[in-house]
């Protein structure tokens, strides 16, 4: 590990528009305290798309919601960390300041646009309101003009007529376009998109992704794209951070990550997805079940399901540090150096391990 200069503590390019440092978030539940995010650090640079991948319970959305103070507190509680944006720590600014930033300098697009739009107000008025809130000098007609321009930009047909309609008169794809229009209305410098196309059909998803790309070009915003869909991440992201059970396990440039994952979880995810075009082979699932965050596994949280571990005890006892392993690459695996081949070396090892995997159900 001496071939490169350790350039930063958090994965990023070093020109962060937003940086999350050592964030830990807990939820208090009747059964006890659940640590949903555990020491997560990442950065996103101007004009960059950072993809954050993870399955349910990985903490990817909780991390993003912390940025805008959107977590319900209680039960949520930020235990430690900083979220630095334009010289301020967003975890320590007042509510009023956060409201100014939210929807202004930092905007968010959610999975389900129906819950984010108010059903009893016209779409155009909601968009106009969002514009005027952050531009008090705009007159109503200025805001209206800008709203119609935005609707047109995101590809809403007949924007002047559509301006007067209510959310239920829009299809799911159109509502998501409105959310994007609203998010970019005030030229944010950071855009957070949490599963922005998950609720949409493939052909509509393609339309919305085009709008999202356009929005990024228009604003130059640093974009955090949160998704469980590896295809979407491969298509959109410049850099990727992979989360598992509340922790970051790997981060790399998108091509490096897919070509040569350096964490067994990332590799397991990639191999779990059937291909649309390659020769059909049996899928290699990740065995076992997702971890119960009330009782997370000791040491490396992935160790009970890991194909690389091979019974080594250190995985169950010591939490692997999330550390830089090459220029632009981070991994949290004691044995990442064993993952060097194109296939990462795990497939060969699995042969020795055959039979021990089973259904993995306890």
């Amino acid at each position: 590990m001496s071939h490169f200069v350790q350039d930063s503590a958090a994965p990023g390019r070093g020109d962060a528009a937003l940086s999350i440092e050592d964030l830990t978030v807990e939820f208090r539940t009747p059964e006890g305290t659940l640590r949903a995010v555990d020491g997560v650090s990442y950065e996103v640079g101007r004009g960059e798309v950072l993809g954050v991948v993870g399955e349910s319970g990985s903490g990817k959305s909780v991390t993003a919601m912390s940025v805008l103070g959107l977590l319900p507190m209680p039960p949520a509680r930020v235990r430690s960390g900083r979220i630095m944006f334009e010289g301020e720590d967003l975890l320590r600014v007042g509510r009023r300041r956060l409201r100014e930033i939210r929807g202004g300098r930092i905007a968010m697009v959610f999975q389900d646009p129906m819950t984010a739009l108010n059903p009893v107000f016209r779409v155009g008025d909601q968009l106009g309101e969002a514009i005027r809130k952050h531009n008090p000098d705009f007159s109503r007609s200025d805001a209206r003009r800008r709203a119609i321009d935005l609707l047109e930009m995101v590809g809403i047909p007949f924007p002047a007529q559509r301006y007067r309609q209510y959310p239920h008169q829009y299809s799911g794809g159109m509502r998501q376009r409105v959310m994007i229009a609203m998010a970019i209305a005030n030229k944010p410098s950071v855009l957070i998109a949490d599963e922005p196309t998950t609720a949409l059909d493939v052909t509509i998803q393609a339309q919305v992704l085009d709008v999202l790309k356009l929005a990024k070009e228009e604003t130059g915003a640093a974009t955090i794209l949160i998704s469980h869909d590896l295809g979407l991440i491969a298509e959109m992201a410049d850099r990727v951070a992979v989360m598992y059970a509340g922790r970051l396990v790997e981060s790399a440039a998108v091509r490096d990550l897919f070509a040569q994952p350096r964490h067994p979880y990332t590799q397991g995810l990639i191999k779990s997805v059937p291909s649309l075009s390659a020769e059909i082979q049996a899928l290699t699932p990740i065995e076992g079940q997702p971890p119960d965050l009330m009782h997370p596994p000791s040491g490396c949280r992935f160790h009970p399901r890991c194909a690389l571990r091979q019974g080594r005890s250190v995985c169950a006892t010591d939490q692997p540090p999330f550390e830089q392993i090459a220029t632009g690459r981070w991994s949290a695996c004691h044995f990442h150096e064993e993952m060097t081949g194109v296939d990462g070396g795990v497939r060969e090892r699995e042969v020795d391990n055959a039979g021990s995997g089973g259904g993995g159900v306890t």
Binding site: V202, I233, S275, L276, L283, Q289, P290, R305
Partner: protein, 319 residues
Amino acid sequence: MEGLTKHFPMGHGEFVHAVDDVSLSVSAGETLGLVGETGSGKSTVGRTILRLYEPTAGKIFFLGQEISQLKDRALFPIRRQMQMVFQDPYASLNPRMTVREIIAEPLEVHGLFHEEGGGRRVDELLEIVGLNSEHAKRYPHEFSGGQRQRVGIARALALRPRLLVLDEPVSALDVSIQAQIVNLLEQLQDEFNLAYLFIAHDLAVIRHICDRVAVMYLGQIVETGTRDEVYRETAHPYTQALLSAVPIPEPELRDERARIVLQGDLPSPIHPPSGCRFRTRCWKADERCAVEEPRIVTPLGTHGAACHYAESRDMLARP
């Protein structure tokens, strides 16, 4: 099934044309994929085959017998042999029943519990789906999504069916668990020579598991063929657009693939477009498409597309 049609009344003499004139067949040991987007009618097809919905028109044959008109009593023994696995195993399992009760229920309803070996049969079913008898006394909420889907599959297999209708069986599951369930379904099919009607919107999963594929759009089949025909010699413009729009986990191809981005949204199934239903979003459409409904013709073999201007194209070719 032949010419299956299902319209839902909307009042005021209007109908949702959920499924219109759909013909399909699936054999023992075979998987037929039914793929389409929201509102394509793919789930309605699955439910109508099982007679959970009454067909408006058309015929359904099961093991050579026409079942489309059978009354409840005559249908009862046939229902045993056709089972369904749902998308959301949490919503489809009774939360107040233990896993043992959930799996035993179909056996009891059909009066076969003792004949099939009672509790031993339940343990056997649990083992078949990768669970064990320890799980039998637990309740659905104690399981993860993947385990619940295993319970749903065990229940569906309890009556030794010949056909499983699988309606989005993996789409609610995390990626790492999806692969487990897909592998389980493949293994069960080999073991019991099951026929699968696999309904899904995920084109990669459909390709992985299916022998033949039918693509639906607005209540009709627009393309059908073997897996390779549909995926590599794609003939219908809608299927072409669909395949080109799927993001694939290979970043080096991101700006290299042919992409067709369709305009607009799905038209209303209450007043579907005249002629070809896809014409309002199709770049090839002309006057003929508005007046003349294209039919699927399969002069040789199995591959057909309902398009006046069908042309085979490999949307997944590498540049």
